[in-house]
Amino acid sequence: MPTAAVNRIGLARDAYKGAATTLCAGCGHNSITNHLIKALYEQGVEPHRLAKMSGIGCSSKTPAYFVERAHGFNGVHGRMPALTTGAGLANRQLILLGVSGDGDTASIGLGQFMHMVRRNVDCTYIIEDNGTYGLTKGQFSATADVGSVQKRGAVNTYQPIDPCAVALTIGCSFVARSFSGDGKQLVPLIKAAMAHAGTALLDVISPCVTFNDHDGSTKSYSWVKEHDNEIHDVSFIPYFEEIHVDYEAGTAQQVELHDGSHIVLKKIAEDHDPTDRLAAIRLLEESRERGQLLTGLLYLDERMEDLATRERLPERPLRDYGEDDLRISREDFGRLMAELA
């Protein structure tokens, strides 16, 4: 009997799978699920430390389709950020992975999304972005571009909300965009996002094959493939592997992440410094004006403290403290009563 390959914590790839998907065949979300499985397996994430958080929508169902043995919380529409914030405060040791959609994030959940970013909650926040409401059969979402056409012919006239632009504007410490069909780019970005301490936003264009994959859509497979403007080639070196430098000086940028891992960015289309926030905003806007979809790591700030650190929470999960740690001592309590008299 050949033994199955295992990762660094001794688990086979199958341990990172979940229930069978109930999404449409060809859905971009299923690809993202597979890229997540690959990233989590390769990183050797302990399933018990992983908390899969989501809101409502096709995207938000997907946490059931990977790492079945991890905890998951399918919350209410647009409110995943609040649940994730609370879970992270209760237990800093959790690895929080939020999966949301464009309706869940940019419409009903825009406020929570922005406030989570403001607080820099330590989590990975993936938007499975298809510009449409799938479960309710094809209405536009807030990320749909002006002029994009619905399956039945209606044209979107509202300005789109770009989650990456919003996140950059309010100081998100990790902003990236990718495409569900580009595992080569997405897997290292997922790993880097998880290594980052703070809110790591990954806006992943993920075509809806049933309602938004036609001509006139700017979230279709063919449109994304034709207009994808990759900033750089992304690779990820985990902290538990040695770094082998195999690129010429000046052609790549390497950034160390919170846990000692490194992200290596080799220049392709743009000469972009991902630690320059203003440059990221400008590049995003210029790319939009050119009618291109900019993908890659837009911005990274490894110095910003995450919420739990700023709140000075102990490393030990708050949920583990008992009466003796949390109650005022009898002596102090007596003093307090005397003060109130």
């Binding site: 237990n91 959790l94 008992g322």
Partner: protein, 629 residues
Amino acid sequence: MCCGPAGISVVRRGNAGREYDVSFGKTNLQQLINDLTFQAATVNGSGSQSANLVLTRAIFSMGIPVAPKNVFPSNIEGLPTWYQLRISPRGYQARHGDPDLLVSLNPATWSADVKAVRPGGAVVHEEAYSTAEARDDLQYFPVPFSKLAKTQIQSDSLRKQLTNMLYVGIVAGLLRIPFEAIEHGIQRTFQSKPKAWPVNVDAARVGYEYWREHFSERPIRHMLKPVPGGTDGLMLIEGNQAAALGCVMGGCTVAAWYPITPSSSLCENLIAYADRFRVDPATGEKRIAIVQAEDELAALGIAIGAGWAGARAMTSTSGPGISLMAEFSGLAYYAEVPVVIFDIQRIGPSTGLPTRTSQGDVGFAYTLSHGDTRHLVLLPGTVAECYEFAQTAFDLADRFQTPVFVLSDLDLGMNLWMSPDFKYPEKGFDRGKVLSAADLERLQGDWGRYRDIDGDAVTYRTLPGTANLDAGYFTRGSGHDEEARYTESPEIYARNMDRLARKFETAREAVPQPAIESSSNTTVGLIAYGSTHYAVVEARDLLKERGLAVDYLRIRALPLSKAVVDFVAEHEHVYVVEQNRDGQMYDLVRLLLPPELVGRVRSIRHYDGQPIPAYVITRPLLELEAVPV
């Protein structure tokens, strides 16, 4: 310029309690000791609250029971505000209503305020106010407050605030409060700011000297007399502060909130206690996270996320926030996540009367969310119960894995109340049915998140982060089977709904049971809850004096105990007293009763935004129970 009628005759009698026979103006009333309602009518934002607290603390330190009520506008500066301080020999804490001693520093309400003073009362007012329509059954004490402030208070920056301390001195003189008590009141009010003591003492003394010079020969109907030991063992605390202390002692480690009157001071007190008692002095680490959220949806979401992950988590809000929390409350009910929600009730919604009290959320909170939902609701009636029930709420939330609402109100939450010292908790936390990694090791995978193992409909949960590969499960709303797998099966859905209903029945006897006082053989009973308690206490005394004894059942939680049915069965007439228009608890009580008992229950409702006074209860009872005059 006007002054009170001259020629007051004082006859010394020498018996305890009521020492003098005095006639004041055209009234002929006995002098009263330690029995009056003081009212300061000022403009909000002027700093009068400190002055009122100084008087309150001073009188309390004389051993005299006090019951302060702050009637304030939804405004930062410039609108009328009133402070009522009730002093009664028996220490009643319910609102009494019209004042006996008025201090008026607000020209806008001057005329109306004077009209409300009870006959034989006294009015201290800014000298400049018109007394053309002076009542002849009151004594007037004009004081040149502005002039005194300009000439006697040196500090330009503090003049506005310190002007209020002038009336403290005047009132001290009129009521015969020893000046040392005023000094104590100042030190107590500015406990953490000793630098503020001398300027305040000086300003109060200016007022006191003015009284001595101008009014000391004019006794008023009411005076105060120290009662040695009268308030020993009692403290003064607001319900919100008590609840915050309860949260600390109950082991709260995550709190999320959005500012809203009248609940904000709960989390603000929690922040203060956390800074004092939850910070490790060696490392600076904090054993609690308190987050000011972007709205109440997020506040409850953060608390639920934390509760799910195993922390004792809470949020605090008021009616408008409760409205926003409906969806998340339903999720927590169905997903069975522990969380504590404080609702400091007020009138609403929107700009209704946000600074006025109410018990109007009972029915709403009890069933908050769409679908079949029932929540555990705790109803503290005293500040001691605000402290105690905060702790009980965390235990119940963990035990029953469900949201627990604690319904206080503006009156209870934001006013100072006398209370015996709080008890140090003797029991440890009840963290409910949580499986550890070792438990899971032993079970070898044989567990399901929603399996009813013990027959009490309360299931076992695991916390994220539990180091065992069997720990994980997927949390979602109502569509799940016993193993937490998604299903739309009609049988399984209905089975889960039935279990949740059974769980609620298990909780019915575990929540705080009613407090029953049935000291006499009577056919009349009263049912009340929350801050209405104090009006009932007083009303029962008043009714007893009139020959009508009434029994009393105080509801302390929902779901209602079966003891409520027994209580109704034991009485011919039972009056449910509450502070809302629709008789929300009256409805819940009747729903609980067998049909033959429903007709015994009657409803007394008070809903004008002011705390309920005792006469709202005594008047209908005297009439309906046909008590002879």
